[in-house]
Amino acid sequence: MSPAIPILLALALGLIGWLAARSRAWAMRKAVRAEGGELHSLPNYHGWYVGLWAVVPALAFAAVWSSLSPNLVLQQVLSDPAAQGLPAFGIQRDAILAEAQALAGGGGATGFQKGSAALVEPFRAAMHTYAVIGLIVTLVLGFAGGAFAYLRLRPHFTARTRVERAVMVGLLAASLVAILTTFGILASLLFETARFFSVVSPVDFLFGTHWGPDPMSEPSSVSGDRYGAVPLFWGTIFIGAIIAMAVAIPLGLMSAIFLTQYATPLLRKWMKPLLEILAGVPTVVYGYFAALTVAPLVRDFGHMIGVASASSESALAAGLVMGIMIIPFVSSMADDSIAAVPQAMRDGSLAMGATKSETIKKVLIPAALPGIVAGVMLAVSRAIGETMIVVMAAGATARLTANPFESMTTVTFQIVAMLTGEGSFDHPATLSAFALGMVLFLVTLALNFIALRVVKHFREAYE
């Protein structure tokens, strides 16, 4: 049975409760008004009050039940005589159970594992039992909640106050999701990173210069000297913070200056959305563009200027395209900081006889520099977290080299490689992805934190 059915039934109960309570409140209002009185709350609020009481407990139960019932089903199946033949532990036991469950749930699965067919019937029976129990309890809860609320309705019942209190709780809960997400990210990264560091020492990881995890090796024989992440950090910095910024900073800054200071309104009206389009192109498209079009050009150029090692997956190709992707970002940040410089400073410089470009170079940019630097930091944090371009164009070999024509790998590339490979989830190679993620998270967090503070101070300085 689909998990949607209890939810839909609970919602239907809520609707019935809403309608019933509202019509009751209308009737009460008519009676009260005949005596010259008035209800405390509008009839709609009585409806919402009953509706909430009917829906919320029932849905809460349905949510808990849907995470609880798979375990209960499994318990019942395992106590079935047909389950005695299962292997005691291990992957095969899980595979048989998963397959029997899939078969029992329908959906066109086919049985490959020996012994799964015998378990289909127990599974089907158990799933049916627990689904029916869940459905009945959901309905009872919804009905009980609705009836309790319905019986409380009186002319002087403070339905509006109560509903509004529930609304406020809902609002608060929604805004707590953000904290919960941040906490979830931190907790999951910390947990898996701790497991990784119990095998590989943090010193080896942070300062080692050889990266070559083997996901298929025996987990117990893993040694720290294959988990030195320095080449990854270098690749990330070289592609994201050096090559990409060498493209994005001059172009982004000059674009911002041209569009805000020189361009006619018509040109600005057309060019600004164009830059926004550049920012809206999905990264996978940039990655494909880098791999298909830019990388061969870069390789041929490398051969032309005599770099024999120029490869078809190069740091330069990935960095160039990443820089192009970042241009609109740098441009809009620079735009904001230049606009925040007070008009009086600009006017003063122009009144002294400086040309426009002299004003820009000697007054506006120095005055806007903190904002521009903060913008560049945000751009760097975006560039080093960028994944698809490097996955598709930068290559997989971890190298410590300053030759931009060679292939180079980054933190994000290795996260993808480790987690989409063949290794088991508990292997240090897989866990290393979380350690890399932790480093990436902390670095981008620090960059953003500093940048936002700088921007804030800078804004206050001119206000």
């Binding site: 953000a178 990264l189 999905p282 987690l419």
Partner: protein, 416 residues
């Protein structure tokens, strides 16, 4: 020219002014070049993609007549009404009939380049219109991947002669492939379609929207209208601002470590993908929602409160409807970003080969950007064109979404 020292003071000033004006012009030209460069890169990207994509919307087709009237196959048209019509046709030997007609018209070498499953397209045409059984049917079936490559002057050299010969007879043509928009993924570039990924994207986006929009709007309302100024509110604000800047791949790690640990059976399902992307989209909606709510003038709130509305009524009856266009604009932009997102979905396993379109929120699926990524790894030259075609479809969707956002902004946004 002449020695500067001998020049008059005016001439020196004029020369310096000229130099300064020249610097001014150079600086301006530099700025123009920077903007032009971005425009040219964008144009170059779009032109290369479109040029490649033109081939991706087409496929190489073998065309030959099949004579059903001669009675090689006897099928009662009434049997083609039921659900198992394809089995009926298979039992009646449609496959052999198609193969025979192909070798008659194309020769044995040509017929060998007809893929095994191609007869099913004839079967579908017959089920569509059983009266075709009474006459000669002009079949247009996909050629094999090798023959398609040969037609592009690519792939195995020995097939190129055959391809040229069939093409000269008009029996091998490239034609617009409507099926590309309605099929699922496949192993060969001739048989792939985009519908599976498109449907996966739509289901995923629906989950994202249903989660991120209400949570984002409610959080924005709370923070902007009700939140007291204290430590907790500060923590919420800081975490929302940080979440908006966290690399998307980190959300993938979260989805892998948390969501997949809770729902291990839903690996690569749109439900998990949508939940992961919702966490990523929510901060965007909160930030744009707060700006939209902030833009509603206080006089609206004062007026509502003055006539006796409660604080909740003020916000939900007056402020929120006025802020809605701005909120929707931000939501669409956030959704467009989520639609193009690849990395977090790779993390939660949406990279498996899924041939059939997903039939629900919990069945295995892939999404458009991931499909593009997977096809880009294929070696066959045919996949380059297919990938570009998929990219064009993705870009069109993004264009429509962003266009809608701009329309909403221009049409409904009020300047107070």
């Amino acid at each position: 020219m002449s020695d500067p020292a001998t020049l008059s003071r005016d001439a020196r000033i004029a020369a310096r002014l000229n130099r300064r004006y020249a610097a001014e012009r150079r600086f301006k030209a530099l700025g123009f070049v920077a903007v032009l460069f971005s425009a040219l890169v964008l144009a170059f990207l779009l032109v290369t993609m479109t040029a490649n994509a033109l081939g991706g919307f087409q496929r190489a087709e073998l065309r030959f007549p099949i004579d059903f009237a001669s009675g090689a196959m006897t099928v009662d048209p009434a049997q083609l009404e039921g659900a198992n019509a394809m089995q009926v046709l298979e039992g009646a030997g449609l496959k052999d009939v198609v193969a025979f007609a192909a070798s008659q018209s194309l020769g044995d070498a040509g017929a060998a380049e007809l893929p095994d499953g191609a007869w099913r397209e004839v079967g579908e045409a017959l089920i569509d219109d059983p009266s075709r059984l009474g006459g000669t049917f002009q079949a247009a079936l996909p050629a094999s991947d090798d023959l398609a490559a040969a037609l592009r002057k690519d792939g195995q050299p020995q097939l190129r002669g055959l391809a040229d010969q069939l093409a000269a007879q008009g029996k091998l043509v490239t034609a617009f492939d409507w099926g590309f928009l309605s099929r699922g993924d496949a192993t060969g570039p001739q048989d792939v379609g985009i519908w599976g990924a498109l449907k996966g994207s739509m289901l995923t986006m629906l989950v994202t929207l249903l989660l991120a929009f209400p949570i984002g709007v409610l959080a924005a309302v709370y923070l902007e209208e009700y939140a007291p100024k204290n430590r907790w509110t500060d923590i919420i604000e800081v975490s929302i601002n940080n979440l908006a800047a966290v690399p998307s791949i980190i959300f993938g790690l979260l989805g892998l470590a948390v969501f997949l640990a809770i729902f291990p059976n839903y690996r690569s399902a749109p439900l998990i993908g949508g939940m992961t992307l919702a966490l990523m989209t929510m901060p965007v909606i909160v930030i744009s929602g707060r700006n939209a709510i902030k833009a509603v003038p206080p006089s609206i709130r004062d007026a509502a409160l003055a006539v006796g509305a409660s604080r909740v009524q003020t916000v939900f009856h007056h402020v929120l409807p006025l802020a809605l266009p701005g909120i929707l604009t931000g939501t669409i932009i956030g959704m467009a970003r989520a639609l193009g997102e690849t990395a977090p979905l790779l993390m939660i396993g949406m990279r498996a080969f899924v041939a059939s379109p997903p039939d629900g929120f919990t069945s295995p699926a892939t999404v458009l950007p991931v499909q593009i990524f997977l096809w880009s790894d294929e070696i066959d030259r045919g996949f380059v064109e297919r990938t570009s075609a998929a990219i064009i479809v993705l870009l069109l969707f993004l264009l429509v979404m962003n266009g809608l956002a701009i329309y909403l902004r221009n049409r409904f946004e009020k300047r107070w």
